[in-house]
Amino acid sequence: MTTLTVVQAVNQALREEMKRDDRVVLLGEDIGRNGGVFRATEGLLDEFGPSRVMDTPLAESGIIGTAIGMALYGLVPVPEIQFLDFIYPGFDQIVTNLSKFRYRSGGQYSAHVVIRAPYGGGIKGGHYHSQSTEAYFAHTAGLKVVIPSTPYDTKGLLKAAIRDPDPVIFLEPKKIYRAVKGEVPEDDYVVPIGKSKIVKEGSDVSLFAYGTMLHVALEAAEEAAKRDIDVEVIDIRTLVPLDIDSVISSVQKTGRVLILHEAPKTGGFGAEISALISEKALEYLKAPIIRVAGFDTPFPYTWESIYLPDAFRVMKAIEKIMQY
């Protein structure tokens, strides 16, 4: 066991998977000598050489398109997109090729690519270094969507993604890349894709969150505990395929639901969780389902800290839900 940050956990997972399986290759902008702008690939060029850690030209459709080709040939490419905000030049490759290769070929080909990208706010990067658009990917059949919130899960989920036969969009919470540290075993383990985690049990409110917001959720839950409100905090971890059973059983227990994400509220993934709950567990609900989310604006620069949901805001929502 060592204590690692989230970004170190990414690095360790990549290193171990590259050692384990020589089909695993990395590509992306500035990931080689520079070690990635967040240093996620630090040291890997030296260890594995330029044919497995490839600096690419500035073209996300080239990165993703080429990675898909490499996957068809039997490699396991793990491209890095420097910021999720820069994935859109490659969005066509994702929607058109990555998500549909298996389907359109009747299962002959699969594009087993794991796209890593830092997402979300937290570095005062304005609207082009801060967006959380996981909902686009979650609505694209054929993709799996994974967002870890701790170093332990980051390593275990990234390894699972690399071993999963399907394309995975792996979004890394950049705000907590370094801010969150945790124990990470040095040996090989995976955290299964498709399973959420009860991070804190509780009986009054089910609070669903993922990525950076998980920590906001925990902070709010602690605050709530002081006021004798027992919040259950569930880390969604995998958006697609969602761990529906865990969601529903928590709601059955508490009857009160709060969903938290930093993406804009309208059309965010919180809507899907909410809709599934009111389809499958309506009779258990004691209060309206509340979503605490980013505002429906582009991500702002100056007021970033106000834009991003924090424990203060979540606490207000908890109170509201309890008073209902």
């Binding site: 993703i64 066509d92 359109r104």
Partner: protein, 362 residues
Amino acid sequence: MSVEMLQVIRAEGTYDTTLEPSLPESDLKKLYEAMILLRTLDVRALSLQRQGRIGFYIQCIGQEASQIGSAYAFEPNDWLFPSYRDAGVAIVRGLALKTLFCHLMGNSQDVMKGHQMPNHWGYRSINLVSLAAPIGVHIPVAVGVALAAKMRGDRIVTGVYFGDGATSSNDFHAGMNFAGVFHTPTIFFCQNNQYAISLPVSKQTKAQTLASKARAYGFEGVRVDGNDVLAVYKAVKEAVVKARNGGGPTVIEAITYRIGAHSTADDPKRYRVEREVEEWRKRDPIDRFRLYLQRKGIWSEDLEAKVRQQADGIVSDAIREAEKIPPPTLETMFEDVYSEMSWNLKEQLKELLSEQRDVTKR
């Protein structure tokens, strides 16, 4: 970069012996047979569509030399990425026509399981990669396959097929640039058939030639007469050999013409004059090759009759066989989204089956 174009067989069937590729008679015959088979297939598929027996079709009439000549220049373990218009590539690869028609019909023996619309072929068994309709997206994928093979030390080449219109796409740019930078063994085979649906190539780009675009990525482009099967074969073969020997990518621009409509949903009378089509009909690639074979003493009326009869037989048998095959089961609609069916798909499938609807209506 010159705007010249490589031609081996002249309009009248005479030819340049200094340029003539050294192909044995058996290969020349195979090329001819393939061109005839392709034309036969094309005509029959169109009429099937008109009769409502298949839903949609994209013809390639006029482009037989480009497709057959180019595909013939690759080795079987090279990976090819045809476009929707390139039935010829599948034919050269030896795809059984029944398999092809099962795809056009989307039935239960369609390898794509009826997931994809007609002309969006892909067969792993013959290293033909499944196509997406959005123009250009297969280009970087072909580069990626080449790069992976290079990394693995496998001496294969990839060939990616696209049209003049595709040179404007984002992914043409990305794919070409990556191929240049990573020096991949990739042949970019561009059939300049003068149109992207209704847009003439003169409005698609102001570049002097499409081949010259290769220079923007640091490699060579070659123009060939796309209605001359030997010129196409020769240019592609040279590029393939170069690529296989570590010489990197090449663009081949085959100058040809789309004699038919863009697809069965298109009416070219709206945007081009018949006279232009007539001009190009005179340059028919099959006629041209026949004249050459005649001059070489290979062609005979007998041969022609035999080849045509054979082609008709192959196509008719394939259609007859394919039409017997029932549609895929409803379950197949939910397959291959993921390696394993996720809970939501299982739930949806279950609900669908519980509807007990009459699926003969479709």
